[in-house]
Structures are given as C-alpha cells and as structure tokens.
C-alpha cells in the first residue's frame, strides 16, 4: 500500500478530487474510500471532515463517521456554522495535525466564500504544502482548482474556484499536472455541466 501511495505523491502534496462520492450511498463499493485511506497513510490516520459546502448538515457528518468509524482512523469534523460542544480549538493547529482533510459536497460558491471569510483557504494551502492530503467530492473536488462548473448560483455556470494560483504559479503547475485546470463534477449524470464546459470561454 505504501508503494502505491508513494507513486502518486512524489513531493507529498496530494489532492484527490472525486467526481461524486457520498459515503452513505456507496455501501458495498468502498474502493475509493480505501484508496483515500491509503493516501492518508499510517496505521491510525487522522482525518477531518469539512462539511462547509452543505452548511454542516448532521446527515453528512453522520455518514462520514459511519463509513470510516470502524477503520482505525481518528475522525473529527470542523463546523463553521454551529457551536460545537467539543470544539476543535485553534483551526490552523487542528487542520495541520491531520493526515487527510476531506471536503464534502454542496455549494462551491458558498464553500469558498465561507473559507475565505474564516481565512481557511490560506490554512488549507499551508496544510497541502506541508503534506496533509486534501480530498473531496463534487464541490469538495472542484474547490482545489482554478475553475469549476457549478450549480451553486441556481443555474449551471463556470465559476472561479481556488485562487491559490494567483501569485503562486508553482502550485498551479503541480495541481494542474495531476488533473486539469478546471474541474466539473459529476459530468455524465448532469448534462448541463457538460454544456457549460464546452461553451465556457477558453475551453
């Protein structure tokens, strides 16, 4: 397992963008989950869920904990909407101490706006650079790219995602080498995204 992991993280900066993967809907087919766990590495990886894109719904948090609960992981989640009885304390310190950060689906526009308001975008970039693996599905996949095809505004459209690239071209190069400069999820099941993709300027 370690060999396979090393093959995709030559410089330890890792992003796993899932086209569509809800923990609660994939029972019986856990290949992506297992692959993600391998990226996290270690005998008892620390994995933190960021359910921001859906407004921190209890169902998404429960599905995450249910799927990974029995697998020797140290799980946590970080809410940016609700006061938690067991808070994680300092956000930066908590996120830096993780092996993998998983971002759930929802509204990409809201996700990025809220992260920026809490300065979480900078913290996540710093985590990525220091070797914390980043993963996510749908909005949680597109957020790592420069652009994404999103339905957040109510209609399908191309929207700027992460602005990590601005002023830091090295990271962009690394990100785009692993996939593409823009991301759209999940494409075949939602034809409107494919249309937005092909009609986008510069596509």
């Amino acid at each position: 397992m370690a060999d396979g992991t090393e093959a995709v993280r030559p410089d330890r900066r890792t992003i796993l963008a899932l086209g569509g993967h809800e923990f609660s809907r994939r029972r019986g087919n856990e290949a992506l989950r297992d692959y993600m766990l391998a990226l996290a590495g270690g005998p008892e990886p620390r994995i933190c869920l960021l359910p921001t894109a859906s407004g921190d719904p209890a169902e998404q948090i429960a599905a995450f904990r249910s799927s990974l609960g029995g697998l020797h992981c140290r799980l946590s989640h970080l809410s940016l909407f609700r006061l938690e009885h067991e808070g994680v304390g300092d956000l930066a310190r908590h996120l830096h101490s993780q092996d993998l950060i998983y971002v759930g689906g929802g509204s990409m526009v809201n996700l990025l706006a809220i992260w920026r308001a809490h300065r979480l975008d900078r913290i996540l970039r710093s985590c990525w650079q220091s070797g914390v693996a980043l993963a996510g599905q749908s909005a949680g996949a597109m957020c790592w790219f420069e652009w994404g095809i999103t339905r957040s505004p109510g209609e399908t459209r191309l929207a700027p995602a992460s602005d990590w690239s601005r002023g830091c071209s090295a990271s962009t190069t690394t990100v785009t080498r692993t996939a593409a400069a823009a991301c759209s999820t999940p494409s075949p099941s939602e034809p409107s995204r494919a249309t937005a993709w092909t009609t986008a300027p510069g596509s």
Binding site: T52, A53, S54, G55, D56, P57, L80, F81, R82, L83, G87, G89, L91, G106, S107, V109, N110, L112, A113, I114, R116, A117, H118, R151, S152, P153, G154
Partner: protein, 247 residues
C-alpha cells in the same frame, strides 16, 4: 423609513413560548398579514431552523425563506423577492460565515437597498451583529472583532450580560478606536430608525440594552431605558443614566 431591530438574543428560536420580540417586529410592519422572509444563512440553512420559523410565522404571515445553499429551491429572483417583503428576519449562527455567503451572492447589496426602501430588517445574535460596522463574535471561542455590513455606524455586542469574555474584549477594542457600541442582553432588542437608536424593548423584565463607549480614556457603560413588552400598561421605563464601573 429605514428600520433595524437587533435582538441581543431571543425570538422564536431562543425563547420558546415567549413571542414578545417577534410580535413587536411584526407590529412595526403595520400590516395585518405581513410578508416575512427568513434568512437562515448563518446556520448553514439548517432544516430544523427553517421548520421552526414556518411553525411560528406561517399562520399569521406570508412567510418565506431564502436558501443560499440550495439556490435551485429558492426564489429565482432573490432581489425582487427581498424587496417585496415587509420584514426580513435573519437567524443566528456564525456571523463570519453569514457575511461571507451574503457577499458571494450579492445579498449584502440587496439588503442595503431593501433597508433604504423601508423593508424592516431584524435578527438575533449573528442576525443582529451583521447590520453594524463591527461586532464582537465568540463563535469560535475567543472573542473576535468582525466587520458587518455597516448599515449602522456603531459596534454591536449580543448576549451582553451573560458573556463576560465578550464584554472584556469589547472594552479593549473600544480603547483601540472601535466605534461606540450598542449592546443588548438576551431578551432585549435595539430598535434603530435610520442610524439612530429610537428605543429599547424587552421580552423579559430584567433584560436591558446598553451603550458602551470611550469617554476621556475610560470605558463607560450606560444602561438604557428599556420597555418591557410583557406589561401593556408599562410606559417607557426611564432609569437614571448610570455610568457603571468597568468590569
């Protein structure tokens, strides 16, 4: 007339069985069946919060809500919808997340326009802090100084008497030049007409509003005359202006 009612804490989501603050804001609309739109953005559009809003308001209002997480289920034209309301009611939660989401969708500009056109704005906790130039939030533990929409040129602090850390943080920031603050206890509401405070009302007999400001280098807290809404015969309560010692 531009009106904002800021609850220190209270209303349907915090005071089950005590409808006094909600009745007060509905009364300001002077409509028999006012149009009221709920903005639950600060809670991440939490379903249970939206359900509770309808449970309390649907029977006597034209109640609606605007979701910014599920825009496909929201009114197609948020600007037209918000401008057509009599009252916009903002729920509690994280004020930082609230302002971030509003700016991403242009709701901040629409709310300013609604206010200028006479739509009454109200809210509790994060839904109070958001209207001011700055507010004190304790959402992530240690108090944070948060920039609001700035419709009111003051600072704001909520849950005032119940949270010592907020008061202490406010005093420090006032010394650093933060704008004079209006604060409210749980159960008290600050009613602004234009940028100025018009009155303080309360759903609990002991709840109060406060003005907190720097005078000659010292933080001075002035307890404001507060009208208890539970006693119809109660005329506006005039208390001696008490300059309280710093905590």
């Amino acid at each position: 007339m531009r009106q904002i009612v800021s609850f220190g804490g209270g209303g349907f989501s915090m005071e089950s069985g005590n409808p006094l603050l909600d009745e007060f804001v509905l009364g300001l609309t002077a409509r028999e069946r006012p149009k009221v739109c709920f903005l639950p953005s600060a809670s991440g559009d939490a379903d249970h919060y939206i359900v509770r809003f309808y449970r309390h308001f649907a029977a006597r209002c034209e109640a609606s809500h605007l979701s910014l997480f599920r825009r496909e289920r929201a009114p197609a034209e948020p600007r037209e919808h918000l401008l057509s309301q009599d009252l916009i009611y903002v729920g509690g939660g994280s004020v930082t997340s609230l302002i971030g989401v509003w700016r991403a969708h242009g709701i901040d500009e629409i709310l300013r326009e609604a206010w200028e056109r006479g739509v009454i704005l109200c809210g509790l906790s994060a839904g109070s802090l958001c209207w001011f130039r700055e507010g004190v939030s304790t959402f992530h533990g240690p108090p944070q100084r948060i920039e609001g929409l700035g419709l009111l040129p003051w600072s704001n602090t909520v849950h005032y008497s119940s949270e010592l850390a907020r008061r202490q943080a406010l005093f420090g920031w006032l010394r650093e030049g933060m704008a004079p603050a209006y604060a409210a206890d749980d159960g008290a509401a600050l009613h602004f007409v234009g940028e100025e405070l018009a009155q303080v009302v309360a759903s609990r007999s002991h709840a109060r509003g406060y003005r907190v400001e720097l005078r000659h280098g010292h933080v001075v807290t002035t307890k404001l005359a507060t009208r208890y809404l539970g006693d119809p015969s109660c005329v506006p309560l005039i208390e001696p202006v008490a300059a309280l010692a710093e905590a």
